[in-house]
Assembly symmetry: C2
DNA sequence: TTGAAAGCGCTAACAG
DNA sequence: CTGTTAGCGCTTTCAA
């Protein structure tokens, strides 16, 4: 036997108490400006007295919109949930939406049953969705874009579809900035720890690194691949060191990886930045707490999340919005890039 | 003009196509066992062909349950969102719920308007809620417990109300385990960096530390207070060092704080563990990536989140569940506690 | 085992 | 400016 749920007062009750029709109460609740001021007051009083709260389901059903937005996280990404970057994006989105009438539903896209997610999304259960994908094979979502306002966090790999809305940072430029800062200290043998090769952000960052290296007139540096986690940074660095290539500077595509790499560097008896200069991306607790603290390019993940939410809401409301929003990044010089 | 939303097929359409009544389709959708097998097949065929997905709002309205569960995060806690512990709890809850018919709504409890949250919760918008609170003044939620199945993550400070359901770890025991491990290496001057004094977990951990110290026959150690973040660990450690008290071992109430503290220790020219042994709680990337790696007591945050979700669901379904579930913890010996 | 019919609580024309 | 009247898409007695 299910627990009893206290009966909520209905719109009708409010109407009776205020001596008006349900329609009028509805108007007041929805902030219509065509209700006489004293009536508004009377209704509001009744609402307060009864502690009335409109029923979401009924409202959704009647107006054909759910007032809820999904935040979709592929399961594989969920494993990276501990990544402060994602956490911040989510937080930003949730915070923004808390100022609107929308609710945020966290949706984990199970890899075992991808249809489940798209069914849910397509099923009219939400008015829009934010797609946070770490990996690339999100073509399934691109299809959905036709039937539901979607906003991607970070450029999806498959861009074929027309109306894909994206909130991104200029990863290539960010990587270039970081690499340049570190190269400016006179380093001649840069290397990089890149991210998953099926991820837009990773590829762009690697490209930015390569560009900066080339612009500095240096030969292409060695590349090792990680997956943005500290552990992967460690193994990538080990790989780099083992390769025997001469390395005097490292651009890691994420602070977490830089962090992991530093352990290996220290274990090898090398010093940062004197032996190896480091620059990276993300100003998270890893970047701030490493020693020396990491020279990095900060992207404001929280704002990015908020922006994503803002965009879906605007699209849901039929406002026209730019397809691609590039969030600013900022170079933060700390100790790790040398002098 | 809002963007057009593709019209979803309705139950009625399915009924027509399958040549049955809407009631029957509804039965099939809800897995009733009183429908003839061939009818079931016919209906399922129609559903598949039409790509039918039941409308959540209508269903909620009709059955008086929303199939959604709120995850409430006080705004102050949201600031700690980057705490891997919280991220994991959320992930665990989301993952678990993804295997059920329930949806997870992320709710940030604005401090500026606390009534908003409880209105939402009380308003019949969700069937239950998970309360993740970092701070203590959550008496407001305890009130709600009367009208909605609530499950707390971590013991709330105000426990007056009867039916508060909690999924927690034995913080005192965990702290004791950690402290004992570190004391066992012969340390005589332990200190601790504690957490916010209005948080159950922090208080319990401090108590566990003190107990272990006392059991070891040592005089009470010095205490500094942090807020679980790396930064606060730094300042707390600075404070401890500045106090002039002799310290040869440190129990930090969170790995993040231990991590921050280690920077200060290193800056002071001291070595871990030879000069100062360290033990802590949480096996997150901070604990694993510190050098030396931290001896710590692991609590499985993901499982805790899943358990919380499981409990609300059971309560919603009227099953009886224990009021207090204590999740196991595990001591992990690594380098930082000495030898 | 199935269908008919009456709502769930709210919004949205349409009159007035 | 306000009330009347239909539904929104589904579930759920109640009969058959």
């Amino acid at each position: 036997m299910p627990e009893p749920r206290k009966q909520q007062p209905t719109l009708e009750l409010v109407a009776e108490r205020a001596g008006v029709s349900r329609a009028t109460v509805s108007r007041v609740v929805n902030g219509s400006d065509k209700v006489k001021a004293d009536v508004v007051r009377a209704v509001e009083k009744a609402i307060a007295e009864l502690n009335y709260v409109p029923n979401r389901a009924a409202r959704s059903l009647a107006q054909g919109r759910t007032n809820s937005i999904a935040l979709v996280i592929p399961e594989s990404t969920a494993k990276f949930f501990a990544d402060p970057y994602f956490a911040s994006v989510i937080q930003g989105a949730a915070m923004y939406l808390s100022t609107t009438e929308f609710t945020l539903s966290l949706l984990i896209a199970t890899e075992s049953d991808p249809a489940k997610t798209s069914r849910y999304l397509r099923g009219g259960n939400v008015d829009g969705a934010l797609i946070l994908s770490h990996h690339a094979d999100d073509s399934s979502y691109s299809e959905l874009a036709g039937s539901l306002p979607l906003v991607f966090g970070g450029r999806p790999m498959s861009n074929e579809n027309g109306n894909v809305f994206v909130v991104d940072v200029d990863n290539a430029a960010a990587a270039r900035k970081a690499t340049e800062a570190m190269l400016k200290t006179g380093r001649k043998h840069p290397a990089t720890i890149s991210g998953p090769q099926n991820m837009g952000a990773a590829i762009d960052r690697q490209r930015g690194f390569e560009q900066a290296v080339q612009d500095a007139g240096l030969p292409a540096g060695s590349v090792a691949v990680g997956d943005f986690t500290p552990d992967s940074g460690e193994s990538a660095m080990r790989e780099l060191l083992a390769s025997g290539a001469k390395i005097d500077s490292l651009f890691a595509a994420s602070a977490q990886m830089a962090f992991g790499a530093m352990k290996v560097i220290a274990d090898a008896g090398l010093m940062v930045p004197s032996d190896i200069a480091i620059a990276t991306i993300d100003d998270d607790s890893f970047a701030r707490n490493a020693s020396p603290a990491l020279t990095t390019v900060a992207q404001n993940a929280e704002e990015q999340g908020a922006k994503m939410a803002e965009i879906v809401v605007q699209r849901i409301n039929g406002e026209s919005v730019p397809e691609r929003i590039i969030m600013p990044t900022k170079l933060i010089l700390r100790g790790s890039h040398g002098v």
